[in-house]
């Protein structure tokens, strides 16, 4: 079970299986989906636990031939960088299937699409072949489109669906051109990431070439992560998406772009990276400050969460821009932490929407009395969003800020404002508007999550946040050798011109 292909293909095979079941077997669809993502999660936990941080190189590696003529192979594995991401993705996928209880119509199609999304993103995080990496990520595009379109909510659903799809494909295609250019310019006949890394370490490309390819990758991947000013698809899309799609997308899929930057762009194009980092540091302030301020003004809970999630991406970008061990490590911790946090927040807001029929914060108030469990978890999630110690976001953001201080002190000052003041203001205002105050009569019949089974997904995600918050070394220790290798390559080149 501790086998990466098993983790990736469990959801994908289950999706095909559901497609083949007769249309009337409504009970089975959900059961199969739960079983598949559950097995995936168990596999991911075993990989995480069995991961040996002392060893170097890839673990749980699997390599099969695929398209020999182009040097494309099926190559998956984990190292310190992605072992946490795979676990996070599997956890969020399981939680997303758990909270899909609210879906009553066309369940067959629904579970197929959610499983395809989950399998795609697990595959993308585990890939060590440029083509496979892209291929798996794009598997999620069509499912996201149909999920938001059919089960989405709100008057702007169509607009949001198309906006999200077009932005994501634009980003993906720009990144694809960057990846192909990288392959062509490297002059190698292999898409294998390890092979390319070794080759380019010995024969780096000309700095000018590196620079334009890095630009393509930066903006291609950047659009996928909602880098300011290409972020407008994200809050709209998440507000319109059904709960599971928002969880998977905001939580997991969006991290693909960041992962691509750290895994591919930084180590393969070290000189290119340096020429773009000043710009990236400025743009990430756009995420942190601008989107933070926008979040401040939102009246709809999902719009607030969407903007806050875009703002949090700014920290990951800042960590990358700092180009040192602390910063990049922090960026990866932020990715894992934010994945869990975004999934948890959207799961809870989906619960509220399902019970209340609205997410306008003006119409809520005093809900904590009626919903002690959900309210308590959500208050904790919002504290985690402000960066309270004890939750995984704190070590991530702290590491990013420490790292960034060395490279961009001025930017860091502003980012601190965004992290400590703006985030705290909008999160605490939301807590007050939704949970505190006198309870309204219209909500007096609300029922909290009734049993353990319903509470499970929220509890799991919260547990993840707390475990990585209290023991961040679980994430940072395995990451150390990989990140320092990447950083060394970047700075090694500047020292020896």
């Amino acid at each position: 079970m501790a086998n990466l292909s098993f983790i990736i293909f469990c959801p994908l095979v289950a999706a095909v299986l559901i497609a083949l079941l007769p249309r009337t077997f409504n009970v089975l669809f959900r059961a199969v989906a739960l079983l598949a993502t559950g097995l995936s999660l168990l596999g991911a936990v075993r990989v995480f636990v069995g991961f040996d941080s002392a060893a170097t190189g890839l673990q749980y590696e699997q390599h099969f031939r695929w398209v020999d003529a182009l040097g494309i192979g099926y190559h998956v594995g984990v190292d310190g960088l992605n072992v946490g991401l795979v676990l996070m993705a599997a956890l969020v996928a399981f939680a997303a299937v758990c909270v899909s209880r609210e879906i009553r119509e066309r369940q067959q199609l629904y579970y197929m699409l959610v499983l395809a999304m989950a399998g795609g993103i697990l595959g993308a995080f585990a890939s060590f072949d440029l083509f496979l990496f892209y291929f798996f990520h794009e598997l999620a595009l069509v499912p996201t489109f149909i999920l938001i379109g059919v089960w989405g909510r709100g008057a702007q659903r169509n607009y949001a669906t198309f906006k999200l799809t077009l932005y994501l494909s634009l980003g993906a295609l720009v990144a694809l051109i960057g990846l192909i250019a990288l392959y062509v310019q490297a002059g190698q006949t292999s898409f294998n990431l390890l092979h390319l890394t070794r080759h380019l370490a010995l024969n780096p490309m000309a700095p000018g070439t590196q620079s334009w390819i890095f630009g393509l990758l930066l903006f291609g991947f950047g659009i996928l992560v909602s880098l300011w000013p290409f972020h407008t698809w994200a809050p709209l899309g998440y507000a319109a998406a059904p709960t599971a799609a928002a969880m998977l997308h905001a939580g997991v899929l969006k991290k693909f772009g960041l992962y691509g930057l750290i895994r591919i762009a930084l180590p393969l194009l070290p000189a290119g990276a340096q020429s773009w980092m000043n710009l990236l540091a400025l743009l990430c302030l756009g995420n942190i400050l601008y989107c933070g301020l926008v979040a401040l003004r939102q009246r709809d809970l999902n719009h607030l969460l969407g903007n806050s999630s875009v703002a949090h991406m700014g920290f990951a970008f800042l960590g990358i821009a700092s180009l040192n061990v602390l910063g990049v490590t922090g960026a990866v911790v932020v990715m894992v932490a934010h994945g869990l946090l975004a999934a948890l927040s959207f799961a809870l807001s989906g619960f509220l929407y399902h019970r209340l029929g609205t997410l306008e914060m003006d119409q809520m108030g005093g809900l904590l009395q009626r919903l002690p469990f959900v309210g308590g978890v959500m208050v904790m999630a919002m504290f985690a969003g402000c960066g309270l110690p004890g939750f995984a976001n704190f070590p991530g953001e702290a590491l990013v800020l420490f790292g960034a201080w060395k490279s961009y002190p001025t930017v860091t000052v502003f980012a601190c404002w965004g992290a400590l003041v703006i985030a705290a203001v909008y999160m605490l205002r939301a807590v007050r508007a939704i949970w505190h105050g006198p309870p309204l009569d219209r909500w007096k019949d609300l029922v909290d999550a009734p049993n353990l089974w319903v509470k499970l997904p929220y509890a799991l995600l919260l547990a993840g946040l707390l475990v990585f918050g209290c023991f961040p070394r679980l994430l940072t220790d395995p990451m150390q050798p990989v990140v320092s290798q990447i950083v060394q390559r970047i700075h090694g080149e500047t020292v020896t011109p």
């Binding site: 003529a69 182009l70 069509v142 077009l166 051109i177 062509v184």
Partner: protein
Amino acid sequence: MTHFAAIGLELAVAATGLAVLLLDLWVRPEQRRWLTWTALLAVGGIFVASFALTVPEPARMFGGLYVLDELALFFKRFFLLAALLVLVVGQEFADRFSAGHAEYSALTLFALTGMMFAASANDFVLLFVALELVTITFYVLTSFQRRRVVSLEAGVKYLILGALSTGFLVYGLALIFGAAGTMNFEQLAASPPAVLESRLLTVGLLLVLVGLAFKIAAVPFQFWAPDVYEGAPLPTTAFLAVGSKAAGIVLLLRVWFVAAPALTSSWARPLLVVTALTLLYGVLCAIPQRSLKRLMAYSSIANAGFLLLGFCSGSAAGVAAVLFYLGGYLFAVLAIFLVATLAWRGTDSDAIADLAGLAQRSPLLAGVLTLGLVSLAGVPPLAGFFGKFLLLKSVLASATLHPGLYAVAVVALLAAVISLYYYFGVVRVVYWGQPAAAPQAPILLAWPARAALGLCVFGLLWLGCFPANVLNLAQLAAQSLPWR
């Protein structure tokens, strides 16, 4: 190999067509549908038999008029497969013809013969004859619904514009023969420099290229496509989009890379402009379309642009990408037209809006249609993605030599994103569009239609997930062109 063995596949197809025509005289009307099934089986058998044929060395027959090499064989298989699926679409569409079901199958087979000869053309004479065989049968196939005014209008438009393009072609041939004294591609390429640099030859070749540009619907010779596609019956439109375009492509490949490589390589820049314009025209005009057939017409123009990308890169990898892309295009387009035929049974509609509610009426059809559209949009794990990937890769690989290709790559990227918008617009209607009328009955499918749908889905997924086999065939075929 004797001459007649070499054209065995074509002879078999033509004989089947004649047999269908003749048998129609004796078969009772209620049993005529069996004629189509027979034709279908025959084409399927010829398709399978074509894999028994191997050509270790290119065979030149009939005084160099006809060549049988891997490229020709690839395209013959392609055309056979396309015709096989078109016959199924035609059979499902037959209730909308007032008469002449057997003639429709026979004409499809004659057009197929023309296409298969085109795949082997090594001489401007065979190029012309094969193309005319295809075009003239298409005049009839286009206006086959003779009680529908739009169908007749489409036929007349196609006739007039087709005749115009034939005029260009013939004039070009005359000039080429006047300049070089030969019609053979290889002899022309080996002509002395004085001939190759003569203005007469340049003009002649340009006119031939114009005639071929008509066939593949490349800008600025694309204007016939939307009206003809819209008016023609669905199976004819499908065959036009796949077969006729691919016939244009294979002839263009031979003329461009075999007949005058020296001359055409100096036209790289105009080709870039044509490619970029074709891409942009196709995708931009497709956005406001409400008829699926017109949408597919503009999409076919845009796809001509994508195919021309492979010509732009001017490498064996580019040609292999073109061939692979065509394979994916075949399955996607035929899947879409087959679903459209089944979904619109009993109506005279071709409006995208009338596909609303298809996901409830038949999840299978909705799924197949989505796969076809998504493949055309170029999203993994489907064939269209791998085709676009190969094309972009070949363009970027050649771009180190010709920087203009970077600009074309950017245009292709924009075109791919825009195309996503209109393809996904159809998916939107299928899954969450509001049906205008009350919910319609579920759609029942006969087994041949199911088998054809299954074949399309299999093709799309197989080319997308396990592209190695077909890619090897395409690369082998691309190698049979002369590369310096």
